[in-house]
């Protein structure tokens, strides 16, 4: 194969910090991998752990959930709940054999365009290392 494998990554970004951070990275003309499909959500606490399972089922090779730093949440405490939830979800996914690099979580604030670049680079590297996700991908939609 000549072309390098390009993973397909779904990123759930919180509207107030990470989405603005990614926007800043864009407006600052930062170069970073384009493997991400960004889904904007109002808060990282809005992300249901089933979103992650569903994304993996429907074709994602990696999932990133990104929100505000603890204490900076627009809704005061949404990211604290998200942190608990995804800490457990990550353990569960790894326990059933999903590679550790597939699910990632990060805190990126609106002013951290440079950090966003690093996070994306790391997530993409990890997903490339893990390879295409086949474990419980839906082969076809049944109806």
């Amino acid at each position: 194969m000549s072309a390098e494998y390009q993973p397909n990554i779904v990123a759930f970004l919180c509207n107030w910090c990470s989405y603005a951070g990614a926007d800043l990275a864009g407006t600052s003309r930062t170069n970073y991998p384009s493997n991400l499909n960004v889904i904007r959500v109002m808060c990282s606490g809005r992300v249901n752990p089933l979103f992650v399972v569903n994304a993996l089922q429907q074709g994602a090779d990696g999932v990133l959930v990104s929100g505000c730093h603890p204490g900076d949440c627009h809704y005061m405490e949404g990211n604290f709940y998200a942190r608990r939830r995804f800490g457990m979800m990550k353990e569960l996914l790894e326990y059933v054999g999903v590679e550790p690099g597939r699910f990632n979580m990060s805190w990126v604030s609106a002013s951290e365009g440079a950090k966003w670049k690093d996070v994306v680079g790391e997530v993409v590297d990890k997903a490339k290392e893990a390879g295409p996700f086949k474990q419980f991908r839906r082969d076809k939609i049944n109806w």
Binding site: L50, Q57, L92, D139
Partner: protein, 327 residues
């Protein structure tokens, strides 16, 4: 130790109360080593109640299924209580249902039965294949005594007890309105050896292990139906819009189902082992649940179903929660 005669007396007293609708306990089953749930509506029915090593059912499930029928205009709803016999693990389910406000504390009467461990049907049936009808059992000193057709047999408890009982840390009810029995000694400790065995392997091994187990799932949802903590009125497994998990029985959807089932019990599983007991294809569901129980206990210092005043794990947080996985 539970004095069954005294237990029946308390049950009779409870059923006779005006503010109690019925009592849920156990009675002898009709075949082999089985016990069956027993709904006592009249004081006469109390005589059939038993409490023995065969009483493996967690009856707290029934509390969440109590029917609330629409009441005709001008009539009062039936606000009488339901009485329930609980073992140690069942009492944790009741506590957690109260924490989650599944029902009010005044709508249930809890009769505590300190438990020395219940038998695993699969283990005893393998051990005594020529079982007859109505085999009764009782607890001995570190043994279980079966009244087999061939006579009384005493076996060491480690050989026949369910896995959850071998590591049981809460054999005495944590919540009880009635019941003044001697507490039984805690003899188990839990080091999560079964979970650690699997964790020690690499992801490929774990994946192979679970793929094999999940592939046999027939999606009967018995594990969900029997679980005392699975009582959402609108279950995601039944919901069609959005349909998170399609009803196709294939490895993909089975894995998604088991992940969502396990995750719904994160910080809520009280380790009664009912899901594993009822599974018709012997999927080691407790191995999945106990992984999360272990994480919750180690990382968040939380055990569900101990304190009626505690907040649910996922509805609370600490500012210094585990954060090492975050980039």
């Amino acid at each position: 130790m539970v004095d069954v005669a005294k237990l029946k007396e308390i049950a009779r007293e409870t059923v006779s109360r005006d503010d109690v609708k019925y009592l849920i306990g156990w009675r002898q089953g009709t075949f082999g080593f089985r016990a069956a749930p027993h709904f006592v509506n009249k004081p006469e029915d109390v005589d059939q109640l038993i409490f023995s090593p065969l009483c493996s059912h967690n009856l707290a499930t029934y509390l969440t299924g109590v029917e609330k029928l629409p009441v005709p205009r001008g009539q009062e709803a039936d606000s009488r209580k339901v009485a329930l016999m609980v073992k140690g693990c069942d009492s944790r389910a009741v506590v957690l249902q109260l924490v989650e406000q599944g029902y009010g504390r005044d709508s249930v009467v809890v009769i505590g039965c300190p438990c020395q461990g219940v038998v695993d049907q699969k283990k005893v049936e393998a051990k005594y294949p020529d079982m007859g009808e109505n085999i009764t059992a009782e607890w001995g000193e570190k043994t279980i005594i079966f009244n087999l057709p061939s006579g009384k047999t005493e076996v060491p408890r480690e050989e026949v007890l369910a896995g959850k009982c071998l590591t049981c840390r809460y054999p005495n009810p944590l919540l009880a309105d009635a019941g003044a029995w001697e507490e039984v000694a805690v003899w188990g400790s839990d080091d999560y050896a079964d979970v650690q065995d699997l964790e020690a392997g690499n992801p490929q091994e774990r994946r192979a292990f679970w793929e094999d187990k999940f592939a046999s799932c027939i999606r009967c949802y018995a594990c969900r139906n029997v679980c005392p903590m699975c009582y959402c009125e609108d279950c995601i497994l039944d919901r069609l819009n959005p349909q998170w998990i399609t009803r196709a029985v294939n490895p993909t959807e089975n894995t998604a189902f088991h992940l969502s089932r396990a995750f719904h019990l994160a910080g809520r599983c009280i380790e009664c082992g009912e899901c594993e007991r009822v599974c018709p294809v012997d999927i080691p569901l407790m191995k999945l649940n106990r992984k999360l129980t272990k994480e919750v206990r180690e990382n968040y210092d939380y055990e569900p179903g101990l304190d009626p005043e505690a907040k649910p794990l996922q509805a609370s947080y600490r500012p210094n929660d585990k954060e090492d996985f975050i980039l």
